[in-house]
């Protein structure tokens, strides 16, 4: 309990003093996860829509695999990516290991199946409603996907935010490929792990609280920006 209250105090201290380090690693956390979610959305949302409107032979298998990939163990993703990016690996020449880029790649891999799968689930229901109409209007496959993505944007927001939540709190993969290097690849989660290993629990908890607040704040901000709550109908 002492550690907890000390942690709350530490969190307030960090926030009110706008601690330089805290601001830096928070911004890096956001930059990495925002980049990952942007890439994952760019690929995952259209893919989810495509899955919803397309019937092909291995559709069920594809969906099953996609759902399974939602639970990819971050440590394993980090490990594989580490091997690929390390000097002796196939992409070693790119010199990406221990850079924010490597962290973005890792998180994109983790988030993409989540965004795609949740998008598919949401749009599948919408497609069920729209199916006859969009065929009747003689839409092309691209137009169908477009209509689903546009009209389903509310539920897609949930998919994106879920992916964001997974990314911002993730540590297993980015620790391995990022290396938690001060001023270069240290983010909130890896900083917390470091403080814990040093036995500095109050600071670790303080950082944890900042992390949670940040996640909540982002969610609220996006909901307000998209006016989901006010317009009511989903």
């Amino acid at each position: 309990m002492n550690d907890l209250s000390a942690g709350v105090m530490a969190a307030f201290g960090l926030i009110f003093n706008l601690d330089h380090n805290l601001v830096e690693i928070s911004l890096r956390s956001l930059a990495v996860t925002f980049s990952a979610i942007a890439i994952a959305s760019l690929i995952g949302l259209p893919f989810g829509a495509w899955l919803a409107v397309t019937r092909f032979r291995y559709r069920r298998v594809t969906i099953a695999i996609l759902n399974a990939l939602m639970g990819l163990p971050p440590v394993v993703v980090g490990l594989v990516l580490y091997v690929l990016l390390s000097r002796s690996g196939p992409f070693g020449v790119l010199n990406l290991l221990f850079t924010p880029t490597a962290m973005i790649i890792a998180q994109t891999i983790l988030i993409l199946p989540i965004v795609a799968s949740l998008a598919h689930q949401a749009l599948r229901e919408l497609w069920f409603q729209y199916h006859d109409l969009l065929i009747s209007i003689n839409t092309s496959k691209w137009q169908r996907m477009g209509a689903l993505l546009l009209d389903g944007r509310r539920s897609l927001l949930t998919a994106v935010l879920t992916g964001f939540g997974r990314g911002i709190g993730e540590i297993g993969a980015i620790m391995i490929v990022g290396g938690n290097i001060d001023h270069l690849t240290r983010v909130l989660t890896t900083a917390i792990a470091l403080e814990v290993s040093k036995g500095n629990f109050p600071l670790a908890i303080g950082l944890g609280i900042v992390l949670i607040l940040l996640a909540i704040l982002i969610n609220i901000a996006i909901h307000i920006l998209s006016r989901t709550e006010r317009e009511g109908t989903w």
Partner: protein, 238 residues
Amino acid sequence: MVTSILPLKLEEATVRKGGSRILGPLDLTLDGEGCTILLGPNGAGKTTLLRLLHGLDRTSGGQARWATPREEAYLRQSFVFQSPVVMRRSVRDNIAYPLLVRGVGRKEARERAVEWIAHVGLAGADDKPAQILSGGEKQKLAIARALIIKPEVLFLDEPAANLDGTSTRDIEALILRAARAGTRIVMATHNFGQARRLADDILFIYRGRIHERGPAKEFFAGPETKEAETFIKGDLLL
């Protein structure tokens, strides 16, 4: 003058669903002008026939052929569903959508949608989300959305089922106007008054087959088959 997509010809066409034949085999040629009304008891196959004609259901046997290639024919026809489907967007954007699909610019499409909003009596609903409309209002939206492309053939599946008297009259006027402008109308209804007001000829559907076909006047004056007679009488008895 562009070549007509009509006649539409069905030859030995059948539709199977869930393992059994629910329509056909039937031969039918749809040509000329005017308004054909499909009558028949519940479950007779009216919706199935309309969907087959429109290309929403495929033939399981036989064939359905338009006078032009499919892709062209599909661009020049509309369908109004038995239960209206609305998209999660504003009334205006719902009605404008078929134009957008056909490559009309957003601005022009919206302007024409606004005109149609007035035609169908939805004035003032332009920016409302379509999902909050009442059942009858949704039906009107669906009709505006169907007519906005000036279709050569218009299929309607009980379009007035949810409408009150005044709205029914409004919709019928729209349908008649479209018919006079040269749109070929094919419509299913359970409303005999409506059938009498609109029909040039009647297709009486019974157990998945075209049981009787003829000019509306003759059909109502004295149908040829016993089943059709019973069907009309049934209505009078109610």
